[in-house]
């Protein structure tokens, strides 16, 4: 065992990278669920975002355009979910699952000609002086912009939900759509906006994997991150900062356990491999002892005639 081989600065830097796709997808889904909609299609929207972003950034040479395309791609796929659940009033669970299956297949089709292609690099933000501070510089100030966007989004979602009228209306729709409707709020319209936002965030998360974390396109490359994001929203009790904490814990322990393995620490590998799941769940369950509950209308279908 040689713990000195683990560079704590690189470790923290790479755990932030590992956590970002999860965070982006979870924040999007959190808003969707706060509006009372359960969209199980996160995995599908992520993978479509991953290939949309990859394809556009390879074609244009600009990772920025790629990320914009990824957000649009994820949102467009979520439109399908909108059609099914908000207009055709289909079951949300079934529609979400269908979205995932469709997204996985469709992305494989779209990605046929992009296997083995190297995407353009986004580069890191380099702020003079601040980025050069030892330790703190590489940890906090030498990342790609999307990583900061993830944190900024978390803060924005938290502030909007907590302090603004828009947030209040969104939560009202999620808690009791009949009452919100009676007050004159456009339940369907608000939910559509929330679903599109969720789709865009999931798309960004997917593109973060294909453009920055790996960086390449491979079929099915999200490999279950969308499902973990869904679970994270529940364990985070629908609170943005807890979702951030959960994502960083999960991503962090995933990277940490790989580091410990490589350094030859004498903890059985089985325990290390399961630790991200166990510790994240444990911490978030303990935090959720304050009995915060799910939005009351979560997963229920709304029709104005009711």
């Amino acid at each position: 065992m040689d713990l000195s081989e683990i560079n704590p600065v690189l470790l923290v830097a790479s755990l932030m990278v590992a956590a970002t796709p999860l965070l982006l997808a979870a924040i999007g889904e959190l808003v969707v669920e706060k509006a009372g909609v359960l969209n199980l299609g996160v995995e599908g929207m992520m993978i479509v975002g991953a290939i949309s972003g990859f394809a556009i950034s390879v074609e244009t040479g600009s990772p920025w355009l790629g990320f914009i395309a990824a957000a649009i791609g994820g949102a467009v796929l979520s439109l399908l979910f909108v059609l099914l659940t908000q207009f055709a009033l289909a079951n949300q669970v079934a529609s979400g699952l269908a979205l995932t299956l469709f997204g996985l297949g469709f992305s494989a089709l779209m990605g046929q000609s992009y296997v083995g292609v190297k995407p353009p690099s986004m580069g890191e933000i380099h702020i003079p002086i601040i980025s050069d501070i030892p330790v703190i510089g590489p940890v906090l100030f030498q990342h790609d912009p999307i990583l900061y966007l993830g944190i900024a989004l978390t803060a924005a979602v938290w502030a909007v939900l907590k302090y603004t009228r828009v947030g209040l209306i969104l939560r009202a729709v999620g808690e009791n759509h009949d009452a919100a409707h009676a007050l004159g709020y456009k339940v369907i319209k608000i939910r559509i906006m929330a679903i599109l936002f969720g789709g865009a965030c999931a798309g960004l998360g997917g593109a973060y994997i294909s453009l920055i974390r790996v960086p390449q396109w491979t079929e099915g490359m999200t490999a279950g991150v969308g499902w973990i994001a869904l679970a994270l929203v529940v364990f985070a009790s629908w609170k943005p900062w807890r979702a951030l904490l959960g994502a960083y814990l999960f991503g962090g322990i995933t990277v940490l356990q790989l580091n410990l393995q490589a350094a030859g620490v004498a903890i059985p590998v089985e325990y290390l491999a399961m630790s991200p799941y166990i510790i994240t769940i444990l911490v978030l369950v303990i935090l959720s002892a304050d009995k915060s509950s799910a939005p009351a209308s979560l997963g229920r279908i709304f029709h104005a005639s009711h």
């Binding site: 560079n7 390449q216 393995q261 590998v269 089985e270 491999a273």
Partner: protein, 357 residues
């Protein structure tokens, strides 16, 4: 009463219908652990499937299901294939071993072929390739080329196939470079590009300048390319899109001849249970082109070793070799028997860490 008879006649009709189809065409099913576009393991199995289609044309129909988890869900997929009239089913991952045996019991007339396992039955054959021969070549190149004397190894699951690969690579790296050290990380997945890339990055951060992978995607290659000055080897497939650097060579699994032969056997009615384990000699394991990033003399030695394994004059596990705990395994000049290799659950002397149990 009426309802049951209705069901019965429907079942008979269904049986006749599938029977009729099965008569003209041999239906071959494939169960894949990853997506066919993984660029590695499943990609090569799918190439084998396409070769079967090309060989037999209209006489054969192939079906496949990709990204099937190893576990109970695999049984459902295989059962479905058998019910849909498959005559021959290839299950292409180690974790399908027990599901294959279970489903095979229920369908005695369907032939099953399980890759990399060791359980056979009257209608279940097993087949695998001697990947460890390819690992020997990789170990040699890795040992010669590493500057940090640290070689990173991304393991999938601690099963004999993976452990053989680690041992074989280590023995041959150590032989040419006594200072070499292996860092082994278990990913506990066959296919998860993000995690595979993370594992590669971690190993590189801890000083490895050679990455060997036993997972299925090309993500570690991308991570190595990003890091620069790190060499890798294509796994299961050539992964030539990452040549000449970081990918300097590869192990290519060539399943096509086997799949064609076994499909032919089902057509002829000559299929019987076999235990196939072919290597470089039979062409099931191929060594991908060694790129110019490798010095010419190293390349020559690697090719000589490959030739020696092909003609049988050299075995990748030749004594004197000791086990990790220091006990004797193979005496001078002795070679490992297939039984020991098939169930290999120990590291050779010099490797650090324990195999997860």
């Amino acid at each position: 009463m009426k309802f049951t008879s209705l069901l019965a006649s429907a079942a008979v009709a269904l049986g006749l219908a599938t029977g009729a189809v099965a008569e003209d065409k041999t239906k071959v099913g494939f169960v894949f652990v990853g997506p066919v576009g993984d660029g590695g393991w499943t990609y090569e199995h799918n190439k084998g499937r396409l070769a079967v289609e090309e060989e037999f044309g209209d006489k054969v129909e192939t079906v496949f299901v990709e990204s099937v988890p190893e576990g109970p869900d695999a049984e459902r997929v295989m059962t479905q294939m058998a019910l849909e009239g498959a005559d021959l089913i290839f299950t292409t991952s180690f974790g399908y071993m027990d599901p294959t045996i279970n489903v095979a019991k229920k369908f005695p007339d369907v032939k099953f072929e399980h890759a990399t396992g060791y359980k056979t039955a009257d209608n279940v054959s097993v087949y695998s390739a001697r990947f460890y021969e390819g690992r020997a070549v990789q170990g040699h190149i890795a040992g010669k080329m590493t500057k940090s004397n640290t070689i990173g190894y991304i393991g999938s699951y601690p099963i004999p196939e993976v452990i053989r690969g680690i041992n074989s690579a280590y023995i041959h790296a150590k032989k040419v470079n006594p200072d070499v050290e292996f860092k082994i990380v278990w990913a506990y997945t066959w296919f998860d590009p993000a995690k595979e890339a993370d594992a590669a990055s971690v190993l590189i951060e801890q000083g490895a300048d050679v990455i060997l992978q036993h997972t299925d995607s090309t993500a570690p290659q991308a991570a190595a390319q990003e890091a620069g000055n790190v060499i890798t080897f294509g796994q299961a497939s050539d992964m030539s899109e990452y040549a000449p650097m970081p990918r300097v060579s590869s192990i290519i699994d060539n399943w096509a001849p086997y799949y064609i032969a076994r499909t032919q056997a089902v057509m002829d009615g000559s299929w019987e249970t076999v235990n196939t384990w072919d290597g470089i000699a039979q062409g099931m394991v191929e060594i991908g082109e060694i790129s110019d990033a490798v010095p010419a003399d190293v390349k020559e030695e690697a090719l000589a070793m490959k030739a020696a394994m092909a003609d049988g004059s050299y075995h990748a596990f030749t004594g004197p070799l000791k086990k990790q705990d220091g006990s004797d395994w193979l005496a001078e000049g002795e070679t490992a028997d297939d039984g020991t290799l098939a169930g290999m659950n120990f590291y050779v002397e010099g490797l650090e860490g324990e195999i997860p149990q």
